[in-house]
């Protein structure tokens, strides 16, 4: 089975702190994604990566950056956390064709910014 692992399930940070969310997949997938999930808004795409060292902005990239130095790892960085970044963050990788393949999600990282 495909496994997407998010290293932190729950985090509590203070405003202004730098936050790293790590995601690792074990299926050699080229495409990886970071979404945030908020009630009533569904999933919104923050950033995605087609391959190592490649990244593309999603729909809500402001306040975030990403790093993909190795194929299996895709990191989301909050340079200076703010309270409006309190959310559930979901990492995913895409199997099969980039055109038709489904996403495989991690368990999520629930971030609270105080």
């Amino acid at each position: 089975d495909v496994k997407v692992t998010q290293s932190s399930r729950y985090l509590v940070k203070r405003t202004g702190e730098k936050v790293f969310l790590e995601c690792v997949q074990d299926m050699d997938h080229e495409n990886m994604f970071w979404y945030r999930q908020d009630p009533g808004l569904g999933l919104r795409l923050i950033y995605f990566s087609y391959d190592v060292k490649m990244k593309e902005k999603g729909d809500i990239p402001e306040g975030y950056s990403v790093s993909r130095e190795k194929k299996e790892r895709f990191s989301l960085i909050l340079e200076s956390a703010s309270t409006n970044q309190t959310s559930m963050y979901l990492c995913a990788s895409r199997g099969g064709s980039a055109n038709t393949g489904e996403l495989f999600f991690g368990e999520g990282s629930r971030l609270t910014v105080l």
Binding site: A92, A98, L103, F104
Partner: protein
């Protein structure tokens, strides 16, 4: 622009009864359509997808969905609901002509199956 609408925030159904979770979409070209399920405090799990071919798609856990191009809909169905089906369901769409390969999600529908 691509969009997905799930018009119901919550669907309530009794165990053993059929269930339907609605989804409509808007794309400029032809769609690829997906359903995902999320159990409490978990990530999303893939249920099924429509790419091409038969309009009725069968997926995991006894779920199926019917692609209706004229109504731009892709409703999720199950003939007999189980209490364990209670979860949050997301519909997602991708426009075949979109070279970014982005997947757009709906806002989600909470399904509550009562015993």
């Amino acid at each position: 622009a691509q969009s997905v609408a799930q018009p119901e925030d919550q669907v309530n159904v009794a165990e053993g009864n059929p269930l339907t979770v609605k989804c409509t979409y808007s794309v400029s070209g032809n769609p690829y359509l997906f359903w995902y399920v999320q159990y409490p405090n978990r990530g999303l799990q893939f249920l099924l997808k429509y790419i091409t071919g038969d309009n009725l798609v069968k997926g995991s856990y006894g779920f199926e969905a019917e692609f209706n191009k004229s109504q731009t809909s892709f409703h999720l169905k199950k003939p007999s609901a189980l209490v364990s089906d209670s979860a949050l369901y997301f519909c997602a769409v991708r426009d075949i002509g979109d070279s970014s390969y982005k997947l757009i999600f709906g806002s989600g529908t909470r399904l509550l199956v009562r015993p």
